[in-house]
Point group: C2
Chain length 270, copies 2
Amino acid sequence: MKSVEKLTKRLEEGKHICIGLDSDRNKIPEYLRNDEDGILKFNRNIIESTKEDVCAYKINLAFYEKEGKKGIDALERTMDLMPEDVFVIGDAKRGDIGNTSEMYAYSIFEHFLFDSVTLHPYMGYDSLLPFFEYEDKINFILALTSNAGSLDFEKLKLDSGKYLYQEVINKAVQWNTKNNLGVVFGATNPIELKEEIDALKSLFVLLPGVGAQGGSLEDVASTFYSAGNKKFLVNVSRAIIYSDSTENFASSASENLKNYNQKIKIIVNA
Amino acid sequence: MKSVEKLTKRLEEGKHICIGLDSDRNKIPEYLRNDEDGILKFNRNIIESTKEDVCAYKINLAFYEKEGKKGIDALERTMDLMPEDVFVIGDAKRGDIGNTSEMYAYSIFEHFLFDSVTLHPYMGYDSLLPFFEYEDKINFILALTSNAGSLDFEKLKLDSGKYLYQEVINKAVQWNTKNNLGVVFGATNPIELKEEIDALKSLFVLLPGVGAQGGSLEDVASTFYSAGNKKFLVNVSRAIIYSDSTENFASSASENLKNYNQKIKIIVNA
């Protein structure tokens, strides 16, 4: 199944929640922490209990890299667990000169077999092109993020009168000749999201910041659905995967996911 | 030996060349390509023959990540080869929300034991702080890069009249309370470098773009030395490590490095 088809099918079904598998050995249930394969077992249970209702999984490479080859092994084995029909984002935030970006793109799409990646725009078009050339994959470029530091550069005003993040969106729209681009837009910026909703219509949008960071799922869903746009994914990590620290963590994750889906359904039907 | 001491000592000795160990299985001498440990052997020979005359090594993580856990194993073993007194940069171009950046910083500084890292500024201060908190390490923030795409965002004019890369330098200076920051500034921008030379004086500067990309070592060295500033590292990758495709590659690398050092010496004495 093609990556873009996996994603589109779930979005059409009203499934918009992306579960961030930020699996940290210090935060998984205690009985798994000293288990050599603890992270893998944690991931397997979360995936098994949520794979029908989720839109996508997002894997943060930092959480695996920090354990060196042992961590990369856990990542490779986690990727082996992924159901054939679920879209998986490699949250890598890469971006480098062309020949290096080629290596990263190979790593993400051909070695680890992710369906999608997150990218830093700073170095411009040729730093991103090696990713864009994978026609079937979806490339999410950072536009406006959910952290306080978004004020430092992303929200600087350009002499054109636009903000830098608006120029990133503008460029992403121009570069989207293969319909395989998206942007990352923090759910903590609901006003800016409303302002950009027309500009975003040709792009997939990945929205972190709901849950622990304070963004509102209802705001996001109503902004997109009001515009007749279903091409959005709302990432939730900690509020789903760490909502229960007992052996029941997986069923609790599933329940939380269903609650999020239900909240979106209410907005859609309103 | 502290990271910053390793770097400062070599810079004081007039050693400014950073060798980029962009070791690619398809570019190393043919007799090593099918050797399981080919990249490691290549690196060992380059390091052995250049460790006295080099300023630093820069390792591009992409070249290792792309081979998954096998590649990470080669990276870990390459790090084991590094002489105690040579500064090693993890060219990772990371930058993410705080708790993720903590993981990346741990990975770079505590797992792989790099002396230094390269960082993407786009997400702002809190995305970089976990790196800055390693007081003894040097953090190079991307300012103006050597690729064509630097025109897309880095060279956009802000409503303050400054360019975005100038604002990044400005912020790096402000954030440098621990004297452990630097910037990446492409050697392909000699005019901009001259303009910024005063602004850069409190920062270490890593300059890629000499050699294959067309930047001039003489321009860079004379700009810095004219300003009485020795805090610069010029990265050369392909022009040193791939200058000879026979079994003599290591002595050829050493000879090329000595030639670069000699060119700098002539400038300094001029």
